[in-house]
């Protein structure tokens, strides 16, 4: 069930009423949340709910063993991590590696036939795997006591962050579940702002950009000019940002209305003046997760300059592979790894922030273009498609551009974008100033206008596939 659908909206309003009717019983609220989360998973497939439950039991068992065992805690941790990664890999990469494995078997003259079965990827598996890793590590580090089973089950299944993040940390999220004091709605005006911004971003702006610029240009890049193809790349970068950050805004708003705080996931990533900064602003919960659970355990930057670059590269490649099993995602990860390593080298030899100090706008422009270039591999389904696009981008200088107006408007947006930085806070403040009697009128007007301008159909959440 999409969180932007009419059905979800209606059910949520009813759920909201029931949920807060039991404000004084937070334990009961947790049960409501757990049941509704499992119902949402079950609405995709009953199997997915069963898989999630079995996974929850298994990880809980490992956490008990880690906490109980004095001498073998480390082994149990490794066992737990391996189990969760194998689980993720089996579901996510089975199809991709089946061919490779089969051809390897054929090459080695092994008469093994790898079964041809269709493996459905359970909804949210990536995200609950991340959640569980953070929990196991926290238990091992004794940052947390072992949670109660049902609290832990809710931590993994909590519906706002189940499908496409943000990635919660056990350390900050489990205490929010295990409260005994009544919960309160957190920052309602911010929640409203986030939800309205989400509708505008995903439904209206993202939808319009996708329909008018991305889809037509990417469907046959060869017939478009250099300018058009640039528009296509810019537009995809905008679309994926609007879609994903809009989604995050929506679930963050929903969580606030339920009395939970989710981690920040986006902070105007396209204002970044270098690639490192971009990763500090884009999908923050993932990049921090990768930093804490992959990059630092690999040695981080403590083992010399060359080893640091290798660690960066490995972390980025894994990040790429996580996004999808396919050469394109690996190239995408590699591009980011190479980019950051290159930046580190520049920093070392010509000084940190050399370009940014001289011309922040040039730094931003360069970063933006490099990111757009990497999105090409993210967007195209196959390497051949991406190469076609690049090929056309390098050759179609004489073709007459169709999207000149779009190009100019994107340029204008690029330059006025820094001004948008304060919009969310400004909106929150304005909403809190308005008499609450007029709020519905305002919301109705904004949502009416947004839906009126938006193309028909509920857009997919791109990140729900990862």
């Amino acid at each position: 069930m999409s969180y932007l659908s009419i059905e979800f909206g209606l059910i949520f309003v009813i759920f909201f009423a029931i949920y807060w009717a039991f404000r004084l019983l937070p334990k009961f609220q947790n049960k409501l949340l757990l049941i509704s989360s499992y119902l949402i998973v079950g609405s995709y497939s009953l199997q997915f709910a069963v898989i999630l439950f079995i996974y929850t039991c298994a990880i809980y068992f490992f956490s008990l063993m880690i906490a109980a065992s004095k001498h073998h805690a480390n082994r149990w941790l490794i066992l737990g991590l391996v189990a969760s990664i194998i689980n993720l890999a089996l579901f996510k990469y089975f199809d991709f590696f089946r061919y490779e494995l089969q051809s390897l078997c054929n090459y080695l003259n092994l008469s093994i036939l790898i079964p041809v079965v269709t493996v459905l990827i359970p909804i949210g598996i990536s995200f609950y795997t991340f959640h569980s890793v953070s929990y196991l590590v926290s238990i091992k580090k004794r940052e947390l006591p072992v949670a109660k089973f049902w609290d832990f089950a809710l931590f993994l299944a909590f519906f706002p962050s189940l499908i496409a993040g943000p990635i919660n940390r056990a350390k900050t999220f489990l205490p929010q579940i295990a409260v005994s004091q009544p919960r309160d709605i957190l920052e309602p005006f911010r929640a409203f702002t986030l939800i309205i911004l989400a509708v505008i971003k995903v439904y209206c702006l993202g939808g319009l950009i996708s329909e008018n610029w991305v889809t037509p240009i990417f469907s046959n890049p060869l017939e478009y000019s250099f300018i058009d193809l640039l528009v296509g790349l810019y537009a995809y970068a905008m679309q994926i940002y609007l879609n994903f950050s809009g989604y995050t805004d929506l679930v963050t708003g929903i969580a606030l209305l339920l009395g939970f705080r989710l981690p920040i996931n986006f902070n105007f990533p396209y204002l970044a003046s270098n690639l490192r900064e971009f990763w500090d602003r884009w999908h923050i919960s993932l990049s921090h997760w990768i930093r804490d659970y992959i990059y630092i355990p690999l040695g981080g930057s403590r083992r010399g300059f060359v080893r640091t670059q290798i660690n960066v590269m490995l972390a980025m490649l894994l990040s790429g592979l996580w996004h999808g099993a396919g050469i394109n995602f690996i190239i995408w990860g590699a591009c980011h790894g190479i980019g950051i390593a290159f930046l580190n080298i520049l920093d070392r030899y010509i000084g940190r922030g050399w370009i940014t100090e001289r011309s922040p706008i040039v730094a931003r422009l360069l970063t933006w273009h490099y990111i757009c270039f990497t999105w090409l591999f993210f967007c195209c389904e196959s390497l051949a498609d991406a190469l076609d696009y690049l090929n056309a981008l390098c050759h179609n200088f004489t073709v007459e551009p169709h999207y000149m107006a779009a190009f100019i408007s994107i340029c204008v947006i690029f330059f006025i974008y820094p001004l948008c930085k304060n919009i969310p806070t400004w909106c929150t403040v304005q909403l809190s100033r308005i008499n609450s009697i007029y709020l519905p009128v305002l919301f109705i007007f904004i949502l009416w206008l947004t839906i009126y301008l938006a193309p028909s159909g509920v857009p997919n959440f791109i990140y729900a596939n990862f």
Binding site: F12, V13, W20, R23, F443
Partner: protein, 401 residues
């Protein structure tokens, strides 16, 4: 009851309960207060500040906003409901009792359709193909006649066909008597138009690229997810196609690929309830919609390549595809256009669904996990099959060819 109790408690505890939120917003509001010149506004703002948002208030806020939006967009929501749940929100259930009589006709009709389909499959009975041809020639140029002829009275049809067979007339619009559809020949100046649902959305970009790469032929892809012929209120393909053919005369080929959104009951003008899928009225109406598309293509001298809806994992949907294909194929054959069966390309049959197709490299996955859509390999296979149907003619050779 519990609601009320808790809500009233909320009201009493309101200021305490929401103190935290106030604190968060306090800074902002105090700034605002400084800015406001008007005393009245100031007090209003302060009042607002204390007037905290309880769960009850937020509930009413969400509730009112929701109701108002539903009221504003009730039409779109009804269409959405129709598309998603295939029933009328207020009048659920299809036409059943009222049309039992027609149901018996349906059986006869299905037999007839079945026989048509077999004739088409084997295509060795020249006389029979002539029957179709003559019938079509009479029907196609005049949409009004289509409506009359396409009713579910097989006896009438057969009778008229038999008389027609005796005196094969040359049609008014001079369609040559042919048994095979004319090959699709395109030049660089021609355009291809893709219409369809999400299946087409996956395939069309590949064909677009191939067409342009190989022949420099441009194309228009208007395919849109969740569309079909069943709910013209949501998306009207016959109209869209007709409009586009009028505005762009360089379109010479129409490629259609739809079906999976259609095997459901739908409303038909003049009937109070939803007409049941596969009922005679349903079929009549659906055939009219197919014919309307074929008609506008004929009027603009555009060839049609219609892709059969492939096998589906869900048995009910799969059965629906078998039936719809029968309709598509028989209508296509009537106008001597191209019908491309897709199952063998994708390695499945309607009896046996599989996501994989055998190739030299072993089994390749062509369907994604939903059992409906294609993987990019599957899309490419279909795109290549479409390309194989197209013959490219160099412009210079126009006369000699």
């Amino acid at each position: 009851m519990t609601y009320k109790k808790t809500f009233s408690k909320n009201r009493r505890n309101r200021s305490r309960k929401n103190g935290q939120q106030n604190r968060v917003l306090k800074n902002n509001t105090s700034n605002n207060n400084k800015r406001t010149k008007n005393n009245f506004k100031k007090s209003d703002c302060l009042l607002n500040n204390h007037d905290t948002l309880s769960a009850k208030k937020i509930f009413f806020l969400l509730f009112i906003t929701g109701i108002a939006l539903i009221a504003i967009y009730h039409r779109s929501i009804l269409i959405y409901w129709q598309q998603t749940y295939h029933s009328d929100l207020f009048n659920s259930g299809g036409v059943t009792q009222d049309f039992i009589k027609e149901d018996s006709d349906e059986a006869i009709d299905e037999i007839l359709l079945g026989s048509q389909a077999t004739i088409i499959d084997h295509d060795d009975n020249v006389e029979d193909t002539n029957i179709h041809l003559i019938k079509d020639i009479l029907i196609i140029p005049q949409p009004d006649i289509v409506k009359k002829n396409q009713t579910n009275k097989p006896e009438n049809n057969q009778a008229s066909l038999l008389t027609d067979l005796g005196t094969p007339k040359i049609p008014k619009h001079d369609i040559p008597l042919i048994h095979e559809p004319l090959p699709i020949v395109l030049t660089e100046n021609d355009k291809v138009f893709f219409a369809g649902d999400s299946l087409m959305q996956g395939v069309a970009p590949y064909v677009k690229k191939m067409l342009f790469k190989q022949y420099k032929i441009e194309s228009i892809d208007l395919s849109k997810q969740s569309t079909g012929l069943a709910y013209p209120k949501a998306f009207n393909w016959p109209k869209t196609i007709s409009d586009n053919l009028i505005t762009d005369p360089s379109i010479k080929l129409l490629v259609v690929f739809l079906g999976p959104n259609d095997p459901w009951d739908f409303p038909v003008k003049g009937y109070p309830k939803y007409v049941k899928f596969k009922s005679p009225i349903w079929e009549e109406e659906y055939r009219l919609r197919i014919a309307a598309i074929l008609n506008s293509a004929y009027e603009h001298d555009v060839q049609v390549l219609w892709l059969a809806a492939p096998c589906m994992r869900k048995p009910k949907l799969n059965d629906g595809m078998v039936y719809l294909n029968m309709l598509y194929q028989s209508e296509i054959e009537k106008v001597q256009q191209h019908f491309l069966t897709t199952n063998q390309l994708l390695g499945c049959t309607y009896e046996n669904f599989t996501s994989f197709v055998e190739s030299d490299k072993g089994k390749i996955k062509v369907r994604v996990d939903d059992g409906v859509h294609f993987t990019s390999t599957g899309q490419k296979i279909l795109a290549t099959a479409i390309m194989e149907k197209i013959i490219f003619k160099q412009l210079e050779d126009n006369d000699s060819d």
